[in-house]
Subunit: 130 residues, 2 copies
């Protein structure tokens, strides 16, 4: 089974090596396998977990809620409904953020258009103030 060093995982995921260790230390990752020299060897499963964590983190899930999800996952099948709740709650947040961003995108575009108009006016009378 293929494994990856810290350096490799960091390069693949974009998370720093300290962040990977931090995530492991707070239980977001299960204890990572070690080589004989005690260096970490991440598995493909670890990688998938990390990519998942990175994704939900980047879209606004807190570390503590990520922990809650991981704990439920570890507890097994009978927590399926609760995990679904976490996912649905996050889906809601993601949707709400998208709506807010779409709103602000329109706002910015309108403002940017006004700025372009103002610039055109300034260019048309470059000596107006002197």
């Amino acid at each position: 089974m293929k494994t990856y060093t810290s350096r490799e995982v960091s390069a693949i995921t974009g998370l720093s090596i300290p962040t990977l260790r931090y995530y492991e230390s707070i239980g977001l990752l299960d204890s990572v396998q070690r080589a004989d020299n005690s260096h970490r060897r991440y598995s493909d499963d670890d990688l998938r977990r990390i990519e998942f964590l990175k994704r939900v983190r980047a879209t606004g899930m807190s570390i503590s809620e990520m922990g809650r999800y991981v704990d439920l996952f570890r507890a097994g099948d009978e927590t399926l409904a609760q995990r679904l709740d976490v996912l649905l709650a996050h889906r809601q947040r993601v949707q709400a953020q998208m709506d807010a961003l779409a709103d602000t995108l329109d706002f910015l575009d309108a403002k940017i258009a006004r700025y372009h108009d103002l610039q055109a006016q300034q260019a048309a009378m470059p000596e107006a103030a002197s």
Copy 2:
């Protein structure tokens, strides 16, 4: 000219009174007018500024970049091009965030669908484990 108390501005904008004071203290707001008892009286201009700040803040602009924009604004017409740059840069970030969120929304929907399937299976054989 209509003015608003701290309490009113807080209610309208959703920012806390300490946050409003904090924004003023770091120069994101121009010095707010005072009543005779030294209590703040916010103007409509202040309100518009606050709503703008709230909007860009909520979509990921840092306080320091907000400060940069406000400083440029105060400096007058000759900073128009630089302000436009700030707006365009933020527009870019907003667009990028929306793309990332859209991606994650798809990811979540796929995962949620799988969870629903799993739940259906569990419901179909409720005694499987016993």
